[in-house]
Symmetry: C2
Subunit: 260 residues, 2 copies
DNA sequence: CATTAAACG
DNA sequence: CGTTAAATG
């Protein structure tokens, strides 16, 4: 079974660029979207409830901002959207969906840039990382089968962005942000794409300014992290840079269907 | 000589819809624009200073809001943009340009609708009408040659809008607003278009909602008012409903060139 | 219903 | 540089 994650940068916009044909052809069991930027009731019916898909949305209180959505072939056994911290929960950043023995966490981690193009949102971003880490500590320890998929808004290592030197101080590649990812991996979470692909040049996000995507000057900030219990079933991980419609591209894993 | 007035609803937008070709073909000596909605430095060069035109702009402090512009074949002898009332002067609503013996006042009268789609801006609108009226009282009494052109944001009489009954309470056709126009005409100003055309069905603005322009359900709210001294030279007045590019269309007068 | 700017990424 | 929403008309 395939699990796909995609930051669509506005599902209504992506819809106008062929989201539904892409969805049909993705051969996925579960599709996790970030930056939906709409409440469910603002979406056209054909996107809110496409035939043969079950859908769930968690939107931010603030209109047009953040928001995650989950499309799955089967109805999940349960979906939880809260971390219990109101400041985080009002931003529509999380869906914890259980499919039998497999849990998929669809996460849109906060961007570190603040109002005045400063770094003022980094503390909130780091808190969010820590709060979710704590939430998933128990299933991880218990050998649970968990995938954490989404836009982490952080490139982990030099190999994960085209211009590491120039971005040491940029939010998304600062030491304190990378350290949060380090903590996850030290605890046992596996960066599934990196597990299978040791080389660089694979990115999931490109700035919209200039024509930088053509030159593949990007960042790998969208991940599928797998708990060891889930990783045992991961056969393959991929990035799909040819899929357009957003400034991010989809990332995916293929799992042995016995994982559920 | 022809003097034209047009509320362009964003000169940058109108530019993208063929403003310059229209300007070339307008056979005008003076073109007065309202709702330029840009500072001069935000305009592309070809619009800010087209070959063979002299241009002047007065913009609002608030970005993207209001603003008037004057295009003339000859450089005006003087251009004044202030009424002396700061609340009015910061909104870029007036250019008083002198061409020899002829004065052209390019005016964007305030809209009466306020923040919450209420009528809260009507007092400001009426004050503006009165302040400008007072400003032009002396030249009028002295037999001066003055044209007041622009978007008055008021339909004068039943004949000046397609749906008078339905709009008695709507800003733009309320008694207190129509009364301001009455005052101007009583004082001797002549509604040049109405002087030559006694019939109805001639409008200069149509709502953008629905397909109402096609059905000619509009309002005549753009005028060329002439002082008696100027009216003696007005040979003809016209409305140009076929000109697209804005929710308003241009209005014009042709004058004997001896008026200057 | 269309224009523009602002916030955010 | 693109998406969305808010203000204004």
């Amino acid at each position: 079974m395939r699990v796909v994650s995609w930051n669509v940068n506005g599902l209504r916009s992506a819809h106008g660029k062929g989201f539904l044909p892409w969805l049909s052809g993705a051969r996925a069991q579960v599709v996790a979207l970030q930056e939906v930027r709409a409440r469910a009731d603002q979406l056209p019916n054909e996107v809110r409830t496409p035939p043969r898909w079950k859908t769930h949305f968690s939107s931010a209180e603030r209109p047009g901002y953040s928001g995650v959505g989950l499309f799955s072939r089967d109805e999940p056994d349960a979906v939880e959207t809260r971390l219990g911290i109101p400041e985080m929960d009002v931003e529509g950043r999380l869906q914890l969906a259980r499919f039998g023995k497999l849990t998929v966490a669809n996460v849109y981690f906060p961007n570190g840039n603040g109002k005045d193009r400063d770094l003022s949102r980094i503390p909130f971003k780091l808190s969010f990382y820590r709060r979710l880490f704590a939430e998933l500590e128990k299933p991880l320890r218990d050998g649970g089968r968990v995938l954490v998929v989404g836009d982490f808004n952080t490139a982990h290592q030099d190999i994960d962005l085209a211009r590491p030197r120039e971005n040491r101080e940029t939010s998304g590649f600062r030491p304190e942000e990378r350290e949060e990812l380090d903590r996850w991996l030290r605890a046992g979470w596996v960066d599934s794409f990196r597990h299978f692909h040791k080389g660089g040049g694979h990115y999931s996000w490109w700035s919209q300014r200039f024509g930088v995507r053509e030159k593949n000057i990007g960042w790998r900030i969208d991940y599928v992290l797998a708990s060891p219990g889930a990783m045992a079933y991961v056969k393959r991980a991929a990035i799909h840079p040819d899929v357009s419609g957003s400034d991010h591209c989809p990332v995916s894993v293929d799992l042995d269907s016995a994982v559920r």
